[in-house]
Symmetry: C2
Subunit: 256 residues, 2 copies
Amino acid sequence: MRDDSGERARGPLYRSVAADLREAITAGDYGSGGRLPAESTLAERYGVSRGTVRQALAALRADGLVTSRRGTRRVVLGTTRVQSFAELVSFTTWARSVGEDPGGRVEQLERRAADARESEQLRLEPGAEVVVVLRVRTLSGRPVMVERSVYPVWVGELVARIPADAVSHTEPLQEQGVVFADADHTIDLVLADADDARLLGCRAGEALLRERRRSTDPVGAPVEWSEDRYLPGTVAFTVHNSIAASALSRRHRRPH
Amino acid sequence: MRDDSGERARGPLYRSVAADLREAITAGDYGSGGRLPAESTLAERYGVSRGTVRQALAALRADGLVTSRRGTRRVVLGTTRVQSFAELVSFTTWARSVGEDPGGRVEQLERRAADARESEQLRLEPGAEVVVVLRVRTLSGRPVMVERSVYPVWVGELVARIPADAVSHTEPLQEQGVVFADADHTIDLVLADADDARLLGCRAGEALLRERRRSTDPVGAPVEWSEDRYLPGTVAFTVHNSIAASALSRRHRRPH
DNA sequence: TAGTGGTCTAGACCACGGG
DNA sequence: CCGTGGTCTAGACCACTAC
């Protein structure tokens, strides 16, 4: 109902419905383990068709908020807030969303020919130029992560114009039309090298949590390939998946 | 077209369409970076409505195989095989799918009252009984992971009947009607304790990659809460997410 | 058996991309 | 401008759950 009376007019209808339901769920209106109203009931309540309600519910399902099973009403799984794509790709957006004060400083920026791995990840011809950025990320001034990002030159030129102590790189990039639409992440463990140790204030050889990420724009063109190394105990990565839609997988590494 | 002529008749129509498209994509029919036919074209080709085609394409989108953008045809992102939900929850299924020889041995199995954290994770009343299993997992006889699983008794009783050296626990459980439908994973880093060191053959205090996982059945009832600790260099976790459907998130840990 | 979600259809209009 | 995917509707039938 909050649809015609509410201010949440912009954008698709099903998003408004999803947002409203999400709010109700996280507010505990249905309780954890409780049942949602039937699709037909919701359709009537919001004054939309059942298809639109289903589209909204599919979003909640993908976020792991509700189950769905033929024959019974949907069950509320959890009441946890789920992070958005933006919060995931951008350290800055994420940090702010958890009430932390993010910072960053570019330690090194160079333009050079891509090595084999880089050109493969960014889908460039071998030897094409890339811009490589080494950056420390902080929370409340405390270093927590070292970020090594590689960009194709058309993105890298934009990055190079950003002040070295800018909090966010993603935001100015987006303002200039660089759109992050998809990302592949690989999470594992790595030992700190001399740079890591110096920048993070830990010992060389200490274990760090590593996230490697390749982001692509809506056309599928890679816009960034980044390797982030976190101090232990500062972050954990969480994933939800279901028999309906899975995104996570293990990857094997052969010894040596 | 392979629809009416094919043998892939069982199940929803859109799955057949998705499977066929997936096959064509991984076979390279459209090339990496190529364009898919328009939805209307596919609808005509398969003799289904546009809605059904969209349902199939949504599945490919969720798997990170194709992009989609208003105004242009869908772009093929990658031709990589995507792992199934089963491969994700089950070490055994995963290991086999990458051509490794999985093994396992139960080191300890006890039935006792749940502590606070356990009863919360499994949504049991405080003090309810649980079954706790400590197990080493191997690849080709080499220990790579220590698994600490906590089950509600109704599942734990089934687990207790499985031979100590059984390769898989998930498979017998599924045969007896325990269904894993959803899972939440948290990935971070932890230091090996004395048990880990003994069972994995590493030093105590060495960093391990930790995956904590809570699995629920289709009704949303928790069936397992497990903490897996991997030797460094044996696995990496990969996640795909997009602006359309995200499942991964960071989680912050306040110092101390 | 009644209610529910899962699937499928046939049509409509719109917003965006690219020629 | 046209073709494309994004959104939405109204209705239909089925498979399954719970009573």
